[in-house]
């Protein structure tokens, strides 16, 4: 440890042996100043990580003093070592208790605060009486400290806190006359309520609401955050009250503290769904935009949090910042993590109105130094092409210009995104293939190689020298990475099927090498399957390998709707930064998605069903077959393995997002055969999740029903269903089961607006009453005369099912091709 070169006392400079022994002597010195200097020295040693716990008794002796600085030092020592010497802590208790009676409120509060921090069970009994007294102290400083101490105590021993009625006292303190005390009481209760199973710890009623709103205007910025937090959790009784609260929260958007602003944004984003006053909703949305822009003038770290949240807000309300794209243009001196997040927001805000401006910016970014950022900028150009049809030509030209620069990482990234563009717009840009192939020899990254090989294979019949090109790659087949090998096998077979006779040799060679010389089972298996297909039934091989691939879609919305709603309820929190559900972070949600009375009524009328957190599991299941709802978004930022993929082998494939498509494997004929990601993102964690088609499907049931409603989320009503065509009639094939304990009646179904304009042609015919345990197979004919509205993903159809016990919502997916 280097000594501080100047300044009078050098507490960090002693390194003598037997130091603790000397310190021990000095701590017992008869001179007060000497003792104080020694305590400082002890704390200094503690700071640099030396073990001074053996001095416990000697330090504690100095606790009883009028010198506040010395007292604080001893307290600090206690906080650090109480847990290592629990039996000695008792020595300090007397002084603590005495201090809680001191005339100076600073000392009273200090004693309470410190006692709560010792985290030693033994001291709890001694803490109880002083704490109760402190909660009723005349001085608000002591009360606010004591309030938090109750939360500390609860954390340590919930029973004692409950048994002594401390929580009731804190609940009463929500009516304290001091705003700081109210704020800390809110914080303490929120924390206790989160930790406890009881739901009645923190109940906001109308009179408490009034007090909270009043305190909001008066307490410190940090207190305001606590109160806004509790407002986000509150369920207003009616839309009128929701509007009133929103109006009271609006002024907080003008606060200098960015966290107050962001928490206020959270409250408003939640409440806007609860308000039925269009005028006010519009006003709120209008007022959200300027403060969000201003957050970009804060410290870089805060900007980062803000940008991650703006990303979410835009997925929910795409119109909020539609006029503001310029403020997200990258500054030369932005830190890289801010640049990358701005890039994401730019893509979100990119529309056919501003796409020219965006493209010229993105081109500029491609000249930057930071390779990672340049790659993402190149990729962004491709994403714009996939997102905006009318701009695709310009994007492709831009990418071609970039390829001409011959800067290696730019070229490779460009080829990777061009593959996505080819998938989105088949047969539109094959003219650029020669330009891509010119760079054949410079490619050294597996993803880029695989992408180019995929393009060659898919367009084998239009490329004259496809055979030559593939031969070039095949030379080093064994040394290539598995992604490239898989692509090579597929491309060679595609070439054979598209130009019969031309590639016999190549295919023979590659299949032999793959089956005999490769250790990787994936590669070997794919080669075997292709080989068998080709030798037994070339027609079937054609049908499987050259099957039409599902189109990819813009990946602008990166989280599923369910997760999005949950994250909106957590704006400003870590979950909102990671874009992960709070339950994955090891902590409870800042705000739970709650189902208040207002919400329920709104759902009935609204055209956008909200989703209860408890139905998450069911939603995941409902997404089966759609295969794109990467609900947990576990691997954000990377390609999602196993997320995406088509439907089962007999079901027709459904759209996959561009992100999922970046995983090359999903693009292959192989997956069309093998069943793809049966469970989409929900199966991401399971190694077998991607392959249900092999094991489960029995030929007798060509289309499997998937769970639409889980009984635990729908009062015992279970529905499994799928969409089928029977004798030319499209309909929903349902299995309705009553897993509850009472008969069900009054069944009805409603379709939300969807891409295909699907709506029920007749009423839902379920035997009524449906007795407990009874199951019914129902076919619901559908027509397509409803209001069509583009959904994202296109296959998504939201339905509501009602019975005598309630209304339930499900996300269902129409298999692509069913309606063609």
């Amino acid at each position: 440890m280097a000594a501080a070169p100047r300044g009078p006392p050098k507490f960090f400079s002693t390194t003598k042996k037997g130091e603790n022994f000397e310190l021990k002597a000095d701590l017992n010195s008869e001179y007060r100043d000497k003792r104080k200097e020694t305590v400082k020295k002890v704390i200094a040693n503690m700071t640099i990580g030396k073990d001074v716990s053996s001095l416990f008794a000697d330090v504690v002796k100095n606790m009883q003093t009028e010198d506040l600085e010395l007292k604080k030092l001893v307290y600090l020592y206690l906080i650090n070592y109480a847990r290592t010497q629990p039996e000695l802590v008792i020595l300090a208790v007397n002084t603590f208790v005495k201090d809680t009676d001191d005339a100076n409120p600073l000392i009273r509060a200090l004693a309470i605060r410190t006692m709560g921090m010792l985290r030693v069970e033994k001291i709890i009994d001694y803490l109880m009486e002083p704490l109760k007294k402190a909660l009723k102290d005349d001085d608000p400083y002591v009360r606010k400290t004591a309030t938090l101490c109750v939360a500390k105590l609860y954390d340590l021993n919930p029973e004692i806190a409950l048994d002594n009625g401390l929580i009731t006292i804190v609940q009463d303190m929500l009516s304290d006359r001091n705003p700081m005390v109210i704020a800390n009481a809110v914080a303490a209760l929120a924390e206790i309520s989160e930790a406890s199973v009881r739901r009645d710890v923190f109940v906001v009623n109308t009179s408490i609401l009034t007090k909270l709103l009043a305190a909001l205007n008066e307490c410190t910025e940090w207190g305001q955050i606590c109160i806004l937090n509790s407002l986000a959790n509150y369920r207003p009784n009616d839309t009128r009250e929701a509007a009133d609260i929103a109006e009271r929260v609006l002024p907080r958007l003008q606060h200098a503290n960015a966290s107050v602003v962001l928490t206020a944004v959270r409250v408003l984003m939640i409440y806007i769904d609860l308000i039925d006053n269009d005028e006010l909703s519009k006003q709120i949305l209008r007022k959200l935009s300027p403060p969000l822009v201003s957050l970009l003038s804060t410290e870089a770290e805060i900007q980062y949090v803000a940008l991650r949240n703006i990303n979410l807000i835009l997925q929910k309300r795409s119109d909020v910042l539609s006029q503001e794209i310029r403020v997200f243009f990258i500054k030369y001196n932005d830190p890289p993590y801010v640049k990358l997040e701005k890039l994401e927001v730019i893509i979100k805000l990119c529309s056919d109105k501003n796409v020219d401006q965006v493209l010229s910016e993105l081109r500029e970014y491609c000249n930057e130094v930071d390779v990672d950022f340049v790659r993402k900028s190149v990729r962004a150009i491709g994403r714009c092409a996939v997102k905006i049809d009318s701009a695709a030509d310009r994007c492709v030209n831009g990418l071609l210009d970039l390829i001409k620069t011959r800067v290696n990482h730019v070229v490779q990234e460009a080829i990777i995104v061009i593959k996505d563009i080819f998938r989105k717009y088949p047969n539109r840009y094959e003219g650029i293939i020669p330009a891509l192939c010119e760079n054949l020899e410079t490619l050294d990254e597996p993803d880029a190689k695989a992408s180019l090989i995929w393009i060659i294979g898919d367009y084998a019949d239009r490329i004259d020298n496809a055979t030559e090109l593939l031969e070039y790659f095949l030379e080093n087949f064994k040394d290539e990475s598995s992604t490239v090998q898989l692509q090579l096998i597929s491309a060679a077979v595609k070439l054979l099927l598209k130009k019969p006779g031309s590639a016999q040799d190549i295919v023979q060679k590659v299949l032999t090498t793959a089956t005999q010389g490769c250790d990787n089972p994936d590669i070997r298996d794919r080669a075997y399957i292709y080989w068998r297909l080709l030798s037994s039934n070339p027609q079937a091989a054609k049908a499987v390998i050259l099957a039409e691939k599902p189109p990819i879609e813009s990946d602008a919305n990166t989280v599923s709707e369910t997760l999005l709603d949950e994250l909106i309820h957590n704006i400003g929190s870590l979950a909102s930064v990671y874009h992960k559900t709070p339950s994955l972070l090891g902590g409870a949600a800042i705000t739970e998605i709650s189902r208040g009375p207002v919400r329920d009524t709104l759902e009935m009328e609204g055209d956008e069903p909200e989703v209860d957190a408890r139905t998450v599991a069911q939603q995941v299941n409902a997404a089966v077959g759609g295969g794109i709802e990467n609900l947990l978004d576990l691997d954000f930022g990377g390609g999602s393995n196993g997320g995406g993929g088509g439907g089962g082998y007999s079901a027709t494939p459904t759209p996959v997002t561009a992100r999922a498509a970046s995983n090359i494997d999903d693009l292959l004929g192989m997956d069309d055969f093998g069943g793809g990601g049966g469970g989409g993102g929900s199966n991401a964690g399971s190694p077998f999740g991607g392959m249900p088609g092999f094991g489960d499907s029995t030929p007798a049931t060509p289309v499997e029903r998937v769970e639409w409603l889980a009984p635990h989320a729908a009062n015992g009503l279970e529905i499994a269903g799928t969409y089928v065509k029977r004798g030319g009639q499209v309909g929903a094939d349902l299995k309705v089961a009553n897993r509850g304990s009472s008969p069900m009646t009054d069944f009805a179904i409603q379709y939300n607006v969807n891409t295909y304009g699907l709506a029920p042609a007749t009423a839902l015919q379920v035997p009524s009453p449906l007795q407990p345990g009874q199951t019914a197979d129902v076919f619901l004919p559908l027509h397509r005369h409803g209001q069509p509205q583009r959904m994202d993903p296109a296959s998504l159809v939201q339905i509501a099912i009602k019975n005598n016990a309630g209304i339930y919502y499900a996300n269902t997916h129409v298999p692509a091709g069913l309606l063609d």
């Binding site: 606010k144 700081m180 960015a258 001196n333 390779v371 400003g572 929190s573």
Partner: protein
């Protein structure tokens, strides 16, 4: 909210000082932090300000000088609050010790512990106003007879101002400072232009004065139906206020009223998106003579009224890293080569409105060069224009009312300066060695 523990680390990740607030994460978990930073750097990514370890501990940090200020948590805490608190901590430390660096932490560990204890309790931020903290947490050792007392302000609704302040002469100084953020692309098109304004105050007022500030706010004028008279009114896109300003009052009638903290503070900030003519405009022509030399011709123009003058103008022109033998020529000011910034810096002490000046720079280039044509930072410009606001904002009045009824004197200054002010360089014009034959 909720921070479990707070650390200050040196650049190598060694703990200088720490405070455990909740005891739910072992303090040794901090050892997982530096590997996360290094891992990100190894993968050529810059570490983000929020990272998590595999066992679910989240690290939120701010880097300052050669220090990391770091918070650990296991819960879904409010990330914005924690990061903001860390910045607040830096601000408070700086007011206490001037500089926040390794040495000042070692020299002041006692007071840092005290501050950490007072500013956060059980992971929740408490009092963070440095003026108030300084009243009861001071660097002087306490004498027995003068035990510090808690200032009322700690728990008052007015938590930012102590009672009983007295001045012989009651004065208020207002500085209206506007920074211009500008981004111009290589073709000379303005991509982005915004004005960030701030009203900074120095208050030397006795008692508990109630202050009202009047600006030529367009929204206010329109709502009260008055015409702006001779001056124009300004439409502010977004306004942010110090916590002393009564926000609910502002929301209802746009009155800016407050009880100010004592001394210096930022009362409000605002933002305008209105496009203004860039105040200092630069045009650049770069001629590169195939790998032997490069020439820059810069024309700078002051595009504001003749009666104003920009002071201490610095135009920073980036040049290739391997440039050598600089030669400069300019009509006004002086040019120096700053190799550490890879830039030529053209300084002009006074740049009156309406004028334009020229500068030429010439650099030699080595004949063998690393082929890195991409690296092209923009020109940046620094300047200050006193007695001028680019937005046209004006302080119409500042009323101070105190029980004792004293008269207070307001002083107002205006200044406009550069913010992030960047003009991208055009592509070099390539001239071959042979010229035109």
């Amino acid at each position: 909210m909720v921070a479990s523990a707070l650390f200050i680390l040196d650049i190598k990740g060694k703990v200088l000082i720490s405070r455990n607030y909740r005891g739910d994460i072992p303090m040794s978990a901090v050892e997982k932090f530096m590997p996360l930073i290094l891992e990100a750097e190894e993968e050529e990514q810059t570490p983000t300000p929020i990272m998590s370890s595999e066992d679910g501990i989240h690290f939120l940090y701010v880097k300052h000088n050669n220090l990391y200020l770091l918070v650990m948590t296991r819960k879904n805490s409010n990330a914005a609050t924690i990061l903001l608190f860390l910045h607040k901590l830096i601000e408070v430390f700086k007011e206490y010790f001037k500089e926040l660096e390794e040495e000042s932490i070692r020299d002041n560990f006692v007071i840092i512990y005290e501050l950490l204890d007072e500013m956060m309790d059980f992971g929740y931020p408490q009092t963070t106003e440095s003026k108030i903290l300084q009243e009861y947490i001071t660097q002087e050792s306490y004498k027995l007879e003068t035990q510090p007392r808690l200032p009322m302000a700690v728990t008052n609704a007015v938590s930012w101002r102590a009672e009983g302040i007295k001045y012989r002469k009651n004065e208020v100084f207002l500085d209206v400072v506007e920074s211009v953020n500008l981004l111009v692309n290589a073709n000379g098109n303005v991509l982005r232009s915004e004005i960030l304004g701030a009203v900074k105050m120095k208050c030397y007022l006795s008692g508990m004065p109630d202050v009202r500030l009047g600006l030529n706010d367009k929204v206010l004028f329109e709502s009260t139906g008055r015409t702006s008279g001779k001056g124009k009114a300004v439409e502010m896109e977004d306004m942010k206020f110090h916590q002393c300003v009564r926000l609910a009052r502002f929301e209802t009638d746009r009155t800016i009223s407050f009880i100010p903290p004592d001394g210096e503070f930022e009362l409000m900030s605002y933002r305008l998106n209105t496009q203004v003519k860039p105040l200092i405009w630069c045009e650049a022509v770069i001629e590169s003579h195939s790998n032997s030399r490069v020439e820059y011709m810069i024309k700078a123009k002051a595009q504001f009224k003749r009666r104003s003058t920009a002071n201490n103008v610095e135009i920073i022109i980036p040049v290739p890293e391997d440039a050598d033998t600089p030669k400069f020529k300019c009509t006004v000011g002086s040019v120096t080569y700053a190799p550490e910034k890879n830039a030529a810096v053209w300084k002009i002490k006074q740049f009156p409105g309406g004028k334009d000046y020229m500068m030429r720079a010439h650099f030699g280039l080595p004949s063998v060069r690393s082929d890195d044509p991409n690296k092209r930072p923009p020109i940046s410009v620094k300047y200050e224009i006193p007695y001028f606001t680019v937005s046209g904002i004006q302080v119409r009045y500042l009323k101070v009312v105190d029980k004792s009824g004293y008269q207070a004197f307001p002083w107002v200054r205006y200044i406009t300066q550069n913010g992030d002010y960047f003009l991208r360089l055009p592509d070099p014009v390539k001239t071959s060695k042979l010229g035109t034959i």
